[in-house]
């Protein structure tokens, strides 16, 4: 049912543009991306009744490119994890051609592997975040779900690029997504990280190895590269993510929008009660962790920032020898949509959050690593700003698979 998928649908008759690179395309977004006049609650009672005052910068761009924003789908509270998320269903049930959803720790990519579509997270900073109601500003960004790498590239071509309303974007040459349309016969070398593989169950790593043989048959090279502290990505994401989440959720006080408690003795009690009644247990736990690091264990946060820089440098070193890294997108028994504790959420995204910590582009190709009946998703992670090359590799692998079938 459409109402089970869409939190809000645009009731105005769609103005189907005949011109523009995205003419005729339909897009679903999540309820945390601002569209003027739309209820925008980011899946949280803390944003109840909040109506966006203006379009997000990327909404402006896709509208101008001729696409129709069909509506917003249900999402996990503030975009953390996939509980209750219906973004991928909007695509697989053919309501829309593409979905834009926030990638906080790998949500679109894990979702893609579960639902058999392509999921993409661009390099940090190349897509404007203005109008995105986020949670972890230094790690999140808009991600894309679509049915082919080429479709992802066509949407990226429209939304990529500097925006004078998002000052956090770097002044650099942006990736050129037009070249993805003609997948090159690349002889790319993909790196396998044994420190990651050894965390998998036997059947999972067998499925992964099988996928690697397929990759080799498609004339890509495989090379072993090492990230000694692979397990630290998760810790770093958790500490920094919780701290940033605690800060960026400070504004939800129930004063100007969102749920406000029925009665309180003073403003302080009103804040506390409103917030207590607004947030779900998962977000509450996360914010509590963040406040703990901010107020009680700041050193842990400082260390996490330092380790994050080191991990980033280490991964960047690897790209001297390989064009991209290859991982499964998810674990067989870790169900992201059922994860109910912070620990379970991090279990479910343990393989995707590297790209968020390092700010690197990542794409997930479905139907590539099959373990029994479960699609684990083939995940590629590439160097910062090498988004187009990464999508080209994905397109190459996708075409190979299609050909084999």
């Amino acid at each position: 049912m459409i109402s089970d998928i869409f939190f809000y649908m645009d009731s105005s008759p769609p103005l189907l543009a005949e011109r523009g690179p995205l003419a005729g395309k339909t897009i679903a977004i999540q309820s945390n991306l601002s569209v003027h006049g739309w209820p925008t609650n980011a899946g949280s009672i803390a944003l109840e009744r909040f109506v966006a005052l203006e379009d997000a910068s990327i909404i402006e761009r896709v509208k101008k490119a001729g696409a129709v924003i069909k509506g917003s789908t249900y999402m996990s509270e503030l975009g953390l994890g996939l509980a209750g998320d219906t973004g991928a269903s909007a695509l697989t049930e053919n309501w829309v051609d593409m979905v834009m959803m926030t990638d906080t720790m790998g949500e679109p990519r894990v979702s893609a592997s579960t639902m058999g579509v392509y999921g993409f997270k661009p390099s940090y900073g190349i897509v404007s975040r203005y109008g995105l109601i986020g949670l972890i500003p230094s790690m999140e960004g808009i991600g894309i779900l679509a049915k082919s790498p080429e479709e992802i590239a066509s949407l990226m071509e429209t939304i990529v690029g500097r925006d004078d309303r998002d000052f956090s974007m770097p002044e650099c040459e942006m990736p050129n997504f037009s070249q993805v349309h003609t997948p090159r016969d690349t002889m790319a070398t993909l790196g396998v990280v044994p420190e990651c593989v050894k965390t998998l169950e036997t059947d999972e790593s067998e499925a992964f190895n099988e996928a690697l043989s397929t990759i080799k048959k498609a004339h890509f090279k495989i090379r072993e590269v090492h990230i000694a502290d692979f397990d630290l990505f998760r810790t770093v994401h958790n500490v920094i993510g919780a701290v940033e989440a605690s800060s960026s959720s400070g504004k939800y006080d129930g004063v100007r929008y969102g749920h406000r408690t029925a009665s309180a003795k003073n403003w302080n009690e009103m804040y506390i009660k409103s917030r207590a009644e607004s947030f779900g247990l998962l977000i509450k736990t996360y914010l509590f962790q963040g406040a703990y690091y901010q107020f009680e264990n700041y050193n842990a946060f400082v260390n996490a920032c330092r380790i994050r820089r080191r991990l980033k440098e280490e991964v960047n070193e690897l790209y001297k020898n390989v064009d991209a890294l290859v991982f499964p997108a998810r674990r067989q028994n870790m169900n992201a949509s059922k994860a109910s504790t912070i620990g379970e959420v991090y279990d479910a995204f343990a393989l995707t959050l590297l790209a968020n910590v390092a700010g690197q582009p990542s794409v997930v190709i479905p139907k590539f690593i099959i373990n029994g009946k479960t699609d684990l998703g083939l995940q590629l992670v590439g160097p910062w700003l090498n988004d187009a090359q990464l999508l080209s590799i994905a397109a190459g692998l996708a075409h190979y698979i299609e050909g084999v079938k």
Binding site: S34, S138, E244, K251, V255
Partner: protein, 477 residues
């Protein structure tokens, strides 16, 4: 016993920058207007909005850093100072805790002994101002209103080293700092209007000791005089505590300008400071810094020295004419219109400045432009009108847009310098005041003054007083 102690004072100074817009959005930087007129999704921190750091704010802040002799840091960054209060709806204040804009500066003041003393500045950082709370207790339920006009207004915080030893030094430091910052055009620096706010940290130690004891912070001084008085009060209070053996604990006290005492305020909550991921790092390359340095105006002490040299003002006149940038520019504009510099300085100091104050005007918005004042003073120098008439003409310059020449013509202020006309005046005065004439001839010199006065009055103030006196003396002699 009191003299066995000395005070150790450090200041924390907030200066509101006078940029056209707020720090992170394009809202006008005008705090005094009707509440909540200058607000937008960014300064209200509505979901989805992102800060857009103003380059003008950076320039104004860098100028403050340069004029206070600081090292401008090549890299600086914003942090989130976390606390929850209704004046801060996003739960943190953007400030620079870990990587401030500027470090290690100094300012020289004249100490009580007349010697110059260099006082250290530890750091200068930028931060956003918070909303203003207006508490109303008239109704049945007291309410607090929030005015967001001030939310996001740019501030710099200047933190001194604990180098100050007396209320005098604190007051001098603030006076000098204010002059300098006003000179570079970064702020009006009015303590009364809140664009300059000074907190003082004070501790006491035995003389000749170099230890730093527990400090007490005092706040809420809204004038330089109150700053001096509050520090004096606090020093005496702490010495009293020491002598009577009461422990001094770290806390904050508020100055009460009515009762003229400090009293403890509720302990303030010190939140953590976390790096902000949304405002990019601020990189200041050397070339930008050098450019800003080149754009700094001539500072007051240099300017005073030049005024002595170039215009032959005496030292006091030169200091006065260079004390404010507007004043110095006005003075030079008048001088450039061929008025003798000392005449210009004298008239500006004794006539213009008081007249402006009376009318609540400034040198930049007064109708008495340098051009009009220069025309008037030229007529004085050319003996076309006398000083008394000139003062009258000047008052009329404030009310009409006529030229000084036209005013002189219309109101008949032209000075009578014709010898024949003056002789007629004198003859008339001599004949009607024969007793005064006799007194003078009998040796009473002051009768001459009376006769000059009578003749001036008869001319309705227009006679050339110098020539009048000459003719009178001649006729009497």
């Amino acid at each position: 016993m009191k003299t066995d102690f000395e005070a150790v004072i450090g200041l924390e100074i907030h200066v509101q920058l006078n940029s056209a817009t707020k720090m992170f959005c394009d809202c006008p930087n005008r705090t005094g207007d009707e509440p909540n007129q200058h607000i937008c999704p960014i300064c209200l921190w509505l979901p989805g909005a992102m800060p857009q750091f103003s380059h003008e704010v950076l320039e104004k802040a860098v100028r403050v850093g340069l004029v206070l002799n600081c090292n401008i840091q090549q890299q600086s960054a914003f942090d989130q100072k976390v606390y929850y209060y209704p004046d801060l709806p996003k739960g943190y204040q953007l400030s620079q805790a870990h990587q401030p804009l500027a470090k290690n500066g100094w300012l020289e003041i004249i100490g009580e002994d007349g010697q110059s003393k260099r006082l250290g500045i530890r750091k200068i950082h930028m931060e956003e101002d918070v909303a203003k709370l207006v508490h109303e207790s008239d109704g049945r339920t007291p309410i607090s209103l929030v005015d967001f006009n001030r939310a996001g207004v740019p501030l710099v915080e200047i933190v001194t080293e604990p180098d100050l030893r007396s209320p005098h030094e604190a007051m001098e430091f603030i006076r000098t700092l204010r002059t300098y910052i006003r000179y570079v055009g970064s702020s009006e620096c009015s303590m009364e209007q809140g664009s300059l706010r000074v907190d003082a940290n004070i501790s006491i130690r035995p003389k000749s000791s170099d230890q730093l004891n527990t400090k007490v912070e005092i706040k809420n001084m809204n004038s330089i005089r109150n700053l001096g008085d509050a520090i004096t009060y606090e020093i005496d209070r702490q010495i009293g505590s020491l002598i009577s053996g009461d422990p001094i604990v770290i806390h904050t006290r508020l100055w009460d300008p009515e009762k003229r005492v400090t009293s403890p305020m509720r302990g303030k909550f010190e939140g953590p400071c976390v790096p902000d991921p949304s405002v990019p790092q601020i990189a200041i390359p050397d070339e930008f810094q050098n450019k800003m340095r080149c754009l700094l105006p001539e500072m007051p002490d240099q300017k005073a020295a030049r005024f002595v040299n170039q215009y032959k003002l005496n030292y006091e006149e030169a200091v006065l004419m260079s004390s404010e940038r507007d004043l110095s520019e006005y003075f030079e504009a008048v001088v450039n219109r061929k008025v003798r510099p000392r005449t210009a300085a004298h008239w500006i100091a004794t006539q213009m400045v008081p007249a402006l104050k009376e009318r609540n005007q400034s040198l930049t918005d007064t109708p008495v432009t340098p051009d009009r004042l220069a025309n008037l003073l030229t007529m004085v120098e050319e003996d076309k009108i006398n000083a008394n008439s000139a003062k009258e003409v000047m008052m009329r310059l404030f009310e009409t847009d006529q030229t000084p020449q036209a005013i002189v013509e219309q109101w008949g202020f032209k000075q009578i310098s014709e010898i024949s006309e003056l002789e007629n005046l004198v003859d008339e005065v001599l004949s009607t005041h024969s007793s005064a004439v006799n007194n003078f001839r009998n040796g009473q010199a002051k009768a001459l003054g009376f006769l000059v006065g009578q003749a001036m009055q008869a001319s309705q103030g227009k006679a050339n007083p110098k020539r009048l006196r000459e003719i009178l003396t001649k006729k009497l002699g």
